[in-house]
C-alpha cells in the first residue's frame, strides 16, 4: 500500500485545506454545462496529476486505467440510450442522437475529472497527516482519528489472513462446487474467521490504546504539528487559475459550438 514516490509541493499542502478545496471543486464541476470548458479542465487536472503526484508515470497509468473504463461506460450509456432530436443512428434499442452524444461525452469527461482529482488527492495525502490535520484544523475528535489510523494498520493483516484462508480452502479440498449452497459455504468460510479475528484485534487495540492513557476528550499535544504555508495559497491559486483558464479558453476557442449540453 505504501509505494516509493517523490515528495512534491502538493504533499506539503495542508490536508484540511486540500480536502475542503477539493470538495468545493467537486461541486463546482457539477455546475459546468459547457463541454468545452469541461474538456479544458480535464487537461488541467490530468496535467496536475502527472506532473505533481510524485509517482512514476507507469504506475499512474496503471492506477488510471480503471478510469478509462469509467469514461467509456458512463459516456456510452448516455450516448446510446439518451433522449435527443437530431438522430444519427437508430438500431433497435440503440438510439444515438447529436444531443445524447454530446451529453454522453460531457458525463464521461466529468467522470474523468473526478477520477483525476480524487487520485491526486489520494496519492498526495498520507492518512496520518490527514487525520492530524483534521484534528488540528477541523477539530475532529481524536477518538475517530486514532481509530481510523489503527484500522488502516489492520488492512494488510486481513489481506494476509485471506491468503491463508484461500490456501486452507484448497487443502480441505471442499470449497468447490456451484449453486447457492456452495456460495453460502464459501462466504461463511471466509467471513467468519476474518470477522472474528478483526473484532478480536480491534478490541485488543482499543484496550492497548487506553493502557497507553489515551483519553479522547482532553487537550493533547501533537507529535506532528500541521500548519499552513505558502503552498496552501499556491494550491488554491492553481485551482482558481485552472478554472479561469479553462473557462476563458473554452468560451473563446471552443472545440464544439455547443455551450450547454442540457440542450
Amino acid at each position: 500500500m505504501n509505494f516509493e514516490h517523490r515528495e512534491t509541493w502538493l504533499h506539503r499542502v495542508n490536508p484540511s485545506v486540500k480536502l475542503l478545496a477539493f470538495l468545493l471543486y467537486f461541486i463546482a464541476i457539477l455546475f459546468i454545462h459547457n463541454i468545452n470548458v469541461l474538456i479544458n479542465l480535464t487537461w488541467a487536472n490530468l496535467f496536475l496529476l502527472f506532473a505533481y503526484s510524485g509517482h512514476p508515470y507507469r504506475r499512474l497509468l496503471l492506477y488510471a486505467s480503471p478510469f478509462l473504463l469509467i469514461f467509456i461506460s458512463s459516456s456510452t450509456a448516455m450516448m446510446f440510450f439518451g433522449e435527443g432530436e437530431t438522430t444519427w443512428v437508430r438500431w433497435g434499442l440503440l438510439h444515438i442522437t447529436e444531443e445524447s452524444f454530446y451529453r454522453g461525452l460531457h458525463i464521461g469527461f466529468r467522470a474523468l475529472n473526478y477520477a483525476a482529482l480524487g487520485l491526486l488527492f489520494a496519492l498526495t495525502t498520507g492518512p496520518v497527516r490527514l487525520f492530524y490535520s483534521l484534528m488540528q484544523q477541523l477539530k475532529l475528535p481524536p477518538r475517530f482519528s486514532y481509530s481510523f489510523m489503527a484500522a488502516i494498520r489492520l488492512i494488510p493483516i486481513m489481506f494476509e489472513e485471506f491468503q491463508t484462508l484461500r490456501q486452507a480452502a484448497r487443502v480441505r479440498g471442499g470449497l468447490s462446487g456451484r449453486g447457492p449452497g456452495a456460495a453460502y459455504r464459501k462466504l461463511r468460510f471466509y467471513a467468519i474467521p476474518l470477522l472474528a479475528q478483526s473484532i478480536r484485534r480491534a478490541q485488543r487495540i482499543a484496550v492497548a490504546m487506553e493502557a497507553k492513557r489515551f483519553v479522547s476528550n482532553r487537550e493533547r499535544t501533537y507529535y506532528y504539528i500541521i500548519g499552513y504555508s505558502w503552498r496552501d495559497a499556491l494550491y488554491i491559486a492553481v485551482l482558481i487559475g485552472s478554472f479561469a483558464c479553462a473557462w476563458w479558453i473554452g468560451t473563446g476557442w471552443p472545440y464544439f459550438d455547443i455551450t450547454d449540453v442540457r440542450g
Binding site: Y146, S147, R153, T164, A168, A169, I205, V207, A208, Y223
Partner: protein, 535 residues
C-alpha cells in the same frame, strides 16, 4: 507500602456459569518481582486488568471489591505484537504515547530516541514502519511505549507467548534491563528465561483461587506437580518429560525402533523425491532443495531463522505456491496428481483458519463426506480419531469454543482423516503450553510409527533433539540437510556464516550433560552479550 492491592475481589464474566474470582485478596509491595502462574483460563490476565483499572474502565466486566490500590503510574505489555499499536511507524507510536501524556511537541523526538535506546531498538531511522520489525522487535517497541509512561509498576501479560526463541530471548533481556528499579508483575507460561529475575510466585488453581504464594524456590520445590500439570514451561520441563514413562512409550530411540525404521526404509520406496526443487513467491525462488528424499517413518524438522523461507517450502510441497524442479510423490510427478490432499495432509499454524464446519464431529467428517465415503465408515473413522485425539467429550461443540490445545488437536485430526502417508505441519506447537505440546508430539510420534512421514516447521530445538530423525535447515534460501539431528545440534558454534540460530549457537557452545539442558539454555541466553542476542 503496597504498589498494588485488592481485597475481596469478585468478578464474573457475563454468561459464565461461575464467578471467575470469589473474594480474592492480593497485595504486591513496591519493587517486588512477581510471577503469576496457573492453568490457562484461571484468570491471571483478568487480574492484571483489574489491578490497573482496565477492567472495568476499558473492558466492561462487572466487578466488586472492598479495597483497590491502582498504582499511580503503570505500563502494560500485552501478548500479541500485532494488536498493541495504533500508528503505522515506530516514532509515531511512541509519539502517540507522549501526546497522551501531553509532552510538548519539541521534546518528543529526543524522548523517542531515548526510549528506543533503553529497549535496545537501534534503528537507522526512528521513522521505520512497525510492519518491518520482527515480532520480537515489536514487543520491545511495546515495552518502550510502556516505559514512556514512566511507570512504577510494569505489568506483562505473556509478552513472549507468540514469539520464537530468538524474540523471547530479546524481550526478556530488555525487560531485565528496564525493570530493575520497578515493581514487576508477570503472567507467563514460558518461564525458563526469566525465572532468575523473579523473587515471588503466586500460584493459582483452575478455579481462580490462590493455591500458594511464596518465594520462587519454595514454590518450585513444594508445587512441582501442579506446575507440571498446568503445562508451564518451567526450566527442565523437557528433561522431566524425556525421563517420563510417557516419552519412553512414545520414543523410538528407546528401543530398536530406529533400526526397524532403517530396515523398513530400505525395503520401501521414498514417499517424496525432490530434485532441484524450488518454492517461489511470484517469480523469485525463496527456498531451494537440491536433492531430498522423504521416507516412511521420517520426522523431518525444518528449522531456520524467521523469514528464511521455511513456511514457503512447506507451502511449495503442498503446491500452494508455485514451484520449479522435480517433485515426485510415490514415484509420480506432483503435477500429474489430481488431488494432492489425498496424499499430503497439511496443518496450518493458526488452527482457526482451517475450520469449515460448526461442529467438532463434522469438522473431522468433512473431508470424508466430500470424497463420498460410506456413512458407517465415516462414523467409525471419526469416532476413532476423536478418541485418539482426546476430543470425544467435545464432539458437539463449535470448533471456535475449544481451548487452544483442543483446537490444535482438532486441526491435526481433521487433516489426517484421509490417512495420507505424509503430514506437513507449520509450527504446530507454537504458542501451546507444555502439556498440550507433549500431547500433540506424542500423537504425532504414534502416527509416524504407524508408517507415516512428518515434515514440520519448528523453532523448538528440543523437538529437534528428542523427536526428529532428520533436520533440514533453511539458510540463505537453500536447504542444508542433516541426516542425524545430533550433527545439527552439535555443530560448531562459530562457522562464520552469521546465519546461526543464536540459541543453537549458545546452546551448542555450552552443551553439558543432558540433565541440565533446560537450565543451560536459559543461562546461555541471558548471559550472552547483547550483540549476540540481537544477531
Amino acid at each position: 507500602m503496597h504498589a498494588l492491592k485488592v481485597t475481596n475481589l469478585r468478578l464474573k464474566f457475563p454468561g459464565a456459569p461461575k464467578l471467575q474470582f470469589k473474594d480474592l485478596s492480593l497485595a504486591i509491595g513496591r519493587g517486588e518481582k512477581v510471577l503469576l502462574l496457573g492453568p490457562s483460563g484461571c484468570g491471571k490476565s483478568t487480574l492484571l486488568q483489574v489491578l490497573t483499572g482496565l477492567i472495568p474502565n476499558s473492558i466492561e466486566v462487572p466487578v466488586r471489591y472492598d479495597y483497590l490500590v491502582i498504582p499511580e503510574s503503570w505500563g502494560f505489555v500485552f501478548q500479541d505484537p500485532d494488536t498493541q499499536f495504533c500508528m503505522p511507524y515506530v516514532d509515531e507510536e511512541l509519539g502517540f504515547v507522549l501526546e497522551n501524556l501531553r509532552v510538548p511537541h519539541d521534546q518528543m523526538p529526543a524522548l523517542i530516541d531515548e526510549y528506543l535506546r533503553q529497549v535496545g531498538l537501534q534503528l537507522e531511522d526512528r521513522h521505520t514502519p512497525i510492519s518491518a520489525l520482527s515480532q520480537g522487535m515489536k514487543q520491545r517497541l511495546a515495552i518502550a511505549s510502556a516505559i514512556a509512561l514512566q511507570p512504577d509498576v510494569l505489568l506483562l501479560d505473556e509478552p513472549t507467548a507468540l514469539l520464537d526463541p530468538e524474540g523471547t530471548a530479546e524481550v526478556w533481556e530488555t525487560i531485565r534491563q528496564v525493570a530493575k528499579d520497578k515493581t514487576l508483575v508477570v503472567v507467563e507460561h514460558k518461564i525458563d528465561r526469566i525465572i532468575d529475575l523473579i523473587d515471588r510466585i503466586i500460584l493459582f488453581n483452575a478455579a481462580g483461587e490462590i493455591l500458594a504464594d511464596g518465594s520462587r524456590d519454595e514454590i518450585f520445590s513444594l508445587y512441582k506437580e501442579e506446575i507440571l500439570r498446568y503445562g508451564i514451561w518451567y526450566p527442565g520441563v523437557w528433561q522431566d518429560y524425556v525421563s517420563s514413562a510417557d516419552y519412553a512409550a512414545a520414543d523410538r530411540r528407546g528401543g530398536d525402533n530406529k533400526a526397524d525404521a532403517a530396515v523398513s526404509a530400505e525395503a520401501s520406496a521414498p514417499l517424496i523425491e525432490l530434485e532441484q526443487f524450488q518454492a517461489l513467491r511470484g517469480k523469485r525462488a525463496i527456498t531451494t532443495v537440491e536433492s531430498g528424499r522423504i521416507m516412511p517413518g521420517d520426522w523431518i524438522t525444518i528449522v531456520g531463522r524467521n523469514g528464511a523461507g521455511k513456511s514457503t517450502l512447506l507451502l511449495g510441497l503442498m503446491q500452494l505456491v508455485r514451484t520449479r524442479g522435480e517433485y515426485r510423490i510415490l514415484g509420480q510427478p506432483a503435477e500429474s496428481i489430481r488431488d494432492l490432499s489425498d496424499l499430503l495432509a497439511f496443518v496450518f499454524q493458526n488452527p482457526e483458519f482451517q475450520f469449515v464446519t460448526n461442529r467438532v464431529w463434522d469438522e473431522i467428517a468433512y473431508t470424508l463426506r466430500l470424497s463420498g465415503s460410506a456413512p458407517d465408515e465415516i462414523r467409525r473413522k471419526v469416532d476413532d480419531l476423536l478418541q485418539q485425539f482426546a476430543l470425544t467429550d467435545q464432539r458437539d461443540q463449535h470448533p471456535y469454543q475449544l481451548s487452544m490445545g483442543q483446537k490444535r488437536r482438532l486441526s491435526v485430526a481433521s487433516a489426517v482423516v484421509k490417512e495420507q502417508p505424509i503430514l506437513l505441519l507449520d509450527e504446530p506447537t507454537f504458542g501451546q503450553d507444555a502439556q498440550n505440546t507433549f500431547a500433540i508430539l506424542k500423537k504425532l510420534e504414534i502416527w509416524r510409527r504407524g508408517g507415516g512421514a512428518i515434515v514440520m516447521v519448528t523453532h523448538d530445538l528440543n523437538i529437534v533433539r528428542h523427536f526428529a530423525t532428520q533436520v533440514w535447515q533453511v539458510r540463505d534460501g537453500r536447504v542444508v540437510q542433516y541426516e542425524d539431528p545430533e550433527h545439527y545440534l552439535g555443530r560448531p558454534a562459530a562457522d562464520g556464516s552469521g546465519e546461526q540460530d543464536i540459541i543453537t549457537a549458545e546452546d551448542a557452545a555450552r552443551r553439558e550433560p543432558p540433565g541440565e539442558i533446560g537450565r543451560t539454555r536459559s543461562e546461555a541466553v541471558t548471559d550472552a552479550p547483547r550483540e549476540k542476542v540481537r544477531l
